[in-house]
């Protein structure tokens, strides 16, 4: 039995995917999927701000002035939120290795929430991409 060949996705779908990653929920908004945008994008934004409010830590590649490969997996999770991550990075918000912040009881929960926000946004992005490519209603 031959495997069914998937049709190549149109350029529009890739653009929607990129926008959906960069601003959570907008990929669905552009396709007039209002409820999906509200539910999925809303969940990502809530997760992100709850994580920040809990004092969670955002990861980049640099630790004490040198490159650290161990920081790649959490950074990939964090960067999934797109623009909010880059805004926080530009403002240097919650990126510092601060022992006072790390001593907060909600620090670990907040960090996990920030990871989850990014990972959920990857799923949201794939959903928006599939809809734009005509693979989903």
């Amino acid at each position: 039995m031959e495997a069914e060949e998937a049709e190549p996705a149109p350029g529009f779908a890739w653009l929607i995917g990129a926008v959906a990653w960069f601003i959570p929920g907008v990929g669905h908004l552009l396709q007039q999927k209002w409820w999906r945008a509200a539910l999925m994008g809303g969940a990502v934004w809530i997760c992100f701000f709850v994580g920040l409010g809990m004092g969670g830590h955002l990861f980049d590649l640099w630790y004490e002035g040198s490159l650290s490969l161990l920081r790649v997996p959490p950074m990939i999770a964090d960067i999934g939120t797109g623009a909010p991550y880059f805004v926080a990075w530009l403002l240097d918000y919650n990126f510092k290795e601060d022992p006072v912040q790390a001593a907060r009881t909600t620090y670990e929960y907040g960090t996990a929430f920030l990871w989850i926000a990014g990972l959920l946004n990857y799923l949201t992005m794939l959903d928006a991409f599939d809809i734009a490519a005509g693979r989903k209603p």
């Binding site: 409820w35 999906r36 539910l39 999925m40 809303g42 969940a43 990502v44 809530i46 997760c47 709850v50 996990a112 929430f113 989850i116 959920l120 799923l123 949201t124 959903d127 209603p137």
Partner: protein, 49 residues
């Protein structure tokens, strides 16, 4: 944990299945699974020093 389970199950539910009823049921099922597994793991870890 409850907030995490709710947010994750909303996304999982919205992505999966074909009809709204199936999505709602799937989201509720995922939420229940997150909660039950989280509580069970919590109690198991409570007894491990």
């Amino acid at each position: 944990m409850t907030l995490f389970a709710a947010l994750a199950s909303v996304v999982f539910g919205a992505m999966a299945k074909d009809t709204n009823q199936e999505r709602l049921l799937y989201g509720l099922k995922v939420f229940a699974e997150f909660m039950v597994i989280g509580l069970v793991l919590g109690w198991i870890l409570y007894f491990i020093p």
